[in-house]
């Protein structure tokens, strides 16, 4: 009997794993009990025990309990045929499974939106940048109502805690709550890690929007990823009779977390909150709120609310026809349950629209400045990224977003009006610079972004290749330019490309950080980005992010003196960062967009000085004793403060 060979069987695309759809607190609510488990489809990969795979390693050590828990073997055939372990709060192996599944799904969303493989932020241990293969996940790391991404350890630490007696909500008071079993918390933390991998300076609080954006973005991904599960949607839509603005489990993040801490409803609620009397109330957008809200979570909530409102606008407009059909024009649905066909169609629309918005928000990450991000700039990034995908805003996503941002008081600076046209990023001012700079190196650009270099290469290979290319751009292209450019051209670089390749006495920029006598220039990222071109074909752009820095001082007088060279060698209070992001066409070498943050901008420097000196007002007891963690971040000698841990700890 010939040996049965399985070589003709293709490996699967996906693996199915069971997870809790919502925070397990809902198990106590009989309505939700049926609904709370979900079958998550994640990309197939060979896993060893842990589970440990290409991107992740789950290491289940619990120091405050003095224990470890046996790592699960998800490739065990017994588990494979059952779609993994059944959801169970009391089985640590299920926790390992769930954490692996939800993180994997989140990574997949990112990769699909960006069209390339996700990389974790490299480690700086030992001085050099070193590739980090796997994000580490610790499902039972802390005994607190907290979970956080640890940028230095390249790990996510999840806490667990007994539910508080006061208003434990649906939790059993005293019962164990595991943050690693909350889908939303897992997605939120993973997003911090992914964003950190893409934009390492987005964790540095140079203005009130920076940390708020990190938080908001993590919430947005959690929120909209949840909406991409149609089976959950169907139940919600049936329950809310199609009107997703009413109270709605999907819009309340980390619900169990908030409940167990004794709060009302979820920790961060985008579209409304529970009142004192327990009733739920829709938030009305207040454009003045952003002027007075600086705490990162609260400020971030405004951005989340803006995006969610836009989602609702599009949903309502796209389902108007369905409701017209269902109500024969009256617009009033009959009492009782709505027809299951209608439920399905509404659910499909909601899932589709939320997936689109999620993609828009993720793609925007390639259109952001390298440092000092603001909400307004993020809006411009979202609009531009979507424009690059579809010239015509057929379904009104962009207009809904612009409108919604306006209602919430989020305005980009430096634009003439809020039309789509004004919000798009611009190519370099001087036409000369649109072509002059990168076009000369078109062959190398094409080689870098060519498919042959991306297929069949490992993530580590891509990382090293990118690193190498960055060196080339820096050491040859820019260095070459700096040496051979005329004065006029150097001036043009500042104006059009926002980069300082030279520095002269009259510039009053003696505070700029130099390398070999010239303003130091770091290419922090090089990567391909995809869009739809003129003839509806996929086109590749090259994204290049460049970074420059300057010594910053809180005292304006001192800053002035260092800038004009009067004083030297004084330790800075903070590093003021600048640079630019370029999007370059690999077809023509044309610089399509430049998103600049000039390091020589004194206005921007002053704003950061004011923010760090006076603007970061924190009245908590924490701040009284310890000062504000944001200003402490910049104090020299302070061992790298993990802002994510602190922010998440104080809620």
């Amino acid at each position: 009997m010939p040996k049965q060979s399985a070589s003709w069987i293709k490996p699967p695309q996906e693996r199915v794993l069971q997870v809790f759809a919502f925070d397990p607190s809902l198990n106590l609510d009989i309505e939700m009990a049926v609904l709370n488990s979900m079958f998550l489809h994640v990309p197939w990969e060979k896993l060893s025990i842990g589970p440990v795979g290409e991107y992740l390693e789950v290491v289940d050590i619990d120091p405050p309990s003095g224990s470890v828990y046996l790592p699960v073997d998800l490739d065990n055939p017994v588990l494979l045929v059952q779609d993994g372990l059944a959801p169970s709060e009391g089985t640590p192996q299920f926790h390992q499974q769930m954490v692996y599944a939800v993180v994997s799904r989140t990574i997949q969303n990112f990769e699909r939106a960006l069209g390339r493989l996700a990389l974790w932020s490299p480690s700086t241990e030992g001085g050099n940048l070193k590739y980090v293969q796997r994000l580490r996940l610790y499902p039972h790391a802390l005994r607190e109502a907290n979970a956080y991404y640890h940028p230095a350890k390249k790990a996510i630490l999840f806490g667990y805690f007994p539910a508080s007696i006061r208003n434990a909500g649906a939790n059993l008071p005293g019962g164990m709550v595991f943050t690693c079993l909350s889908h939303d918390i897992i997605v939120h933390e993973t997003t911090h890690a992914l964003l950190d991998g893409l934009h390492p300076y987005f964790g540095e609080p140079s203005n009130p929007d920076v940390l708020a954006l990190h938080e908001a973005f993590a919430d947005i991904v959690a929120l909209f990823q949840h909406f991409s599960y149609p089976e959950i949607l169907r139940n919600q839509i049936a329950k809310t009779r199609g009107d997703l603005t009413s109270e709605n489990l999907l819009a309340e993040l980390a619900q169990q977390f908030g409940q167990a801490m004794g709060g009302r409803g979820a920790l961060r609620s985008a579209i409304g909150k529970k009142e004192e009397d327990g009733s739920w109330k829709r938030s009305v957008p207040d454009p003045s709120l952003i002027q007075t809200t600086f705490e990162p979570h609260k400020r971030g909530s405004i951005l989340v609310a803006a995006i969610f409102d836009a989602f609702l606008t599009v949903y309502q407009s796209r389902t108007a026809d369905l409701l017209r059909i269902a109500t024969a024009g009256s617009g009033i649905l009959p009492a009782g349950n709505i027809h299951p066909d209608l439920v399905n169609r509404l659910a499909d629309e909601a899932a589709r629209i939320s997936q689109h918005i999620l993609n828009m928000c993720i793609r925007a990450l390639d259109y952001c400045p390298p440092v000092d991000i603001t909400f307004g700039e993020y809006l411009r990034a979202v609009i531009t990224a979507d424009y690059d995908l579809a010239r015509v805003d057929k379904e009104g996503y962009r207009i809904a977003l612009i409108e919604s941002f306006r209602r919430h008081g989020i305005y980009p600076s430096g634009v003439r009006n809020l039309s789509e046209e004004s919000l798009l990023w611009h190519p370099p001012e001087d036409e000369l610079f649109r072509y002059k700079f990168f076009a000369g190196n078109l062959a190398e650009i094409r080689k870098f972004s060519g498919i042959e270099n991306r297929y069949g290469v490992t993530r580590e290979g891509i990382f090293n290749y990118d690193l190498g290319f960055r060196q080339i751009i820096r050491d040859f292209w820019f260095a070459d330019l700096a040496k051979n450019a005329t004065q006029k051209e150097l001036k043009g670089f500042r104006k059009s490309l926002h980069l300082y390749l030279s520095q002269a006495k009259g510039d009053n920029l003696a505070s700029i950080v130099l390398e070999n006598g010239l303003p130091a220039l770091e290419v922090t990222s090089v990567r391909p980005a995809y869009r739809i071109g003129q003839n509806s074909l996929t086109v590749t752009d090259l994204v290049v992010e460049v970074h420059q820095s300057r010594r910053g001082y809180l005292d304006s007088e001192l800053q002035r003196k260092v800038d004009n060279g009067e004083l030297h060698d004084i330790d800075p209070d903070f590093i003021f960062r600048g640079g630019a992001t370029f999007l370059i066409s690999t077809e023509t070498g044309e610089t399509r967009y430049v998103i600049g943050k000039r390091v020589g901008s004194n206005n921007r420097l002053e704003r950061q000085q004011t923010y760090l000196r006076d603007g970061v007002v924190d009245h908590s007891l924490q701040a009284t004793y310890f000062g504000n963690p944001i200003t402490n971040y910049f104090i020299k000698g302070n061992k790298q403060v993990n802002l994510f841990a602190i922010l998440h700890r104080s809620g």
Partner: protein, 492 residues
């Protein structure tokens, strides 16, 4: 008790130990009768020369209260608002002097210090003791670690421990001839109703406003449960689970407030999973998976480097516990409103009461009434933001003659953000510049320029020259090189 007299004037002397409260009130009658009340006597640890400076202050108190080489000083009432070092270290460090050189009639403490009180035993006793021991354990785990490697959160716990004076109140219990634990006796409609009328103090009435009897005003964060509470069926919470682990894995195995057996029981109760699931870390150290993916040896290794491990990260939650404990202790401050005559001027001494404590009395009928007649406010918690309730509290102190004193001397203790800038500006505006801070003097919005005390060269804009001169005349200060005190005088 001596005979009654007609009260003419009250002198409030704020001593300047550094960051700390020490107030001597002298109640003077029309025939020079005098009664003395001392509210708190303490300074933060690590203040330079604290012991000798406090000693000098106590010497001054003795002289002010008719004490001399032969006679004892007379302290008719000694108040200790709460068990923090910056309020009671004087009583602890110089306990013998208080016992031997003073004649103390009564000691007043908050009812929350009465360990015999059943409510205290159930909710408050050992709410502080055991978690404090647990946190001490946490700190001891970093004894041998170089300062640069100690995580920020652990440093925070250390900082908060500078205020802890566990057991300190015991130094006070036997100081006077009588010991009173005071309650506000809160009425749901009127507010605090406990009024101690003292004819022997010239008819002064002492209103006990706090600490609140309703637990919901005291606890912001959930504090750890003690064994009584757990046995009574109260479920454990996060702080309990953390405390259990801190006790179990500390260096020590014996504690004052909890037995070894109880530590183990508590620990078992707080485990997240059933026994059968857990594998001790010691065993994991022999396991291939954990060796490869976590690592237990020193120094960097390829797959399992030490910088990715999380052995101590869980300890950082202790900083929140320490903050909650500090907050709780502050909230148990004895709050006294001293009414100089029926319907007349009120002096407010709230200790370090935080918002929870304030909220229990500020917005009540009785509380508001007293606030509106307040002419002197001892600013709580050295001017930190959370210790002065503004809406319903400070904004009710509308008397035109309001004066505030802030007992903090940043020059001697510059590490904290006290007083809070915004609060100080608010105080300055409400008192029209009459804010006396323990270092630089009056009306200054700037941080202390030096240790000298002198009034500003120009009077604040809001006041007429007459008003301002009058105010300056009511002030006096220690001209000696020690600059131990500043005093303000109020006529009845």
């Amino acid at each position: 008790m001596n005979g009654t007299f007609h009260l003419k004037q009250v002198n409030i002397r704020m001593y300047r130990p550094g960051l700390g409260d020490c107030f001597l009130l002298t109640f003077k009658g029309s025939n020079n009768e005098r009664r003395y009340m001392l509210i708190d006597c303490g300074v933060l640890q690590k203040t330079a020369n604290q012991e000798s400076r406090l000693g000098k202050i106590i010497q001054d108190i003795k002289e002010q209260t008719e004490g001399s080489n032969g006679n004892r000083g007379k302290l008719h009432i000694v108040v200790a608002t709460h068990e923090h070092v910056d309020h009671i270290s004087g009583f602890v460090m110089h306990n013998t002097r208080f016992q031997e050189e003073f004649d103390i009639e009564e000691v007043w403490l908050a009812w929350t210090e009465n360990k015999q009180d059943p409510q205290v035993a159930e909710s408050y006793s050992s709410v502080r003791d055991t978690p404090l021991e647990a946190l001490r354990e946490t700190l001891s785990m970093f004894d041998d670690v170089p300062d640069a490697d100690i995580p920020q959160s652990i440093k925070k716990i250390k900082k908060l421990f500078e205020f802890v004076a566990d057991g300190g109140m015991d130094s006070l219990r036997s100081l006077g001839r009588r010991l009173n634990y005071l309650r506000p006796n809160t009425d749901p409609h009127l507010g605090p109703t406990n009024v101690i009328a003292r004819e022997d103090f010239g008819g002064v009435r002492f209103h006990v406003l706090g600490p609140p009897e309703d637990p919901k005003f005291l606890e912001k964060g959930d504090l750890p449960k003690n064994k009584n509470q757990i046995y009574l069926g109260q479920p454990i919470n996060q702080a309990t689970a953390l405390t259990a682990a801190l006790l179990k894995f500390g260096k020590q195995s014996t504690f004052k407030s909890i037995s070894e057996l109880e530590v183990d029981e508590l620990y078992e109760l707080c485990l997240p999973f059933d026994h059968t699931q857990a594998i001790p870390i010691a065993e994991a150290q022999q396991d291939k998976f954990f060796i490869e993916h976590y690592g237990f040896s020193e120094g960097p290794s390829n797959e399992a480097p030490d910088w990715r491990r999380i052995n101590d990260d869980w300890l950082e939650a202790g900083s929140q516990l320490a903050l909650d404990l500090d907050d709780h202790t502050n909230n148990t401050s004895l709050v006294l409103a001293i009414e100089l005559s029926p319907g007349g001027k009120v002096l407010l001494f709230p200790g370090d009461a935080q918002h929870g404590n304030w909220l229990s009395w500020a917005k009540t009928a009785n509380g508001t009434n007293l606030l509106q007649r307040t002419v002197f406010y001892k600013v709580g918690h050295h001017g930190s933001n959370n210790a002065t309730l503004v809406p319903g509290g400070l904004d009710q102190m509308l008397d035109g003659g309001l004066v505030a004193m802030i007992p903090v001397d940043p020059v001697r203790q510059p590490n904290y953000k006290m007083p809070n800038k915004a609060l100080k500006m608010r105080l300055l505006s409400q008192t029209k510049g009459r804010v006396i801070q323990a270092c630089e003097g009056i009306g200054s919005a700037e941080p202390c320029p030096g240790v000298d005390f002198k009034p500003p060269a120009e009077k604040p804009a809001d006041m007429s020259p007459g008003e301002w001169d009058q105010f300056i005349q009511l002030m006096s200060w220690d001209q000696s090189s020690d600059k131990l005190w500043v005093e303000y005088s109020i006529s009845v």
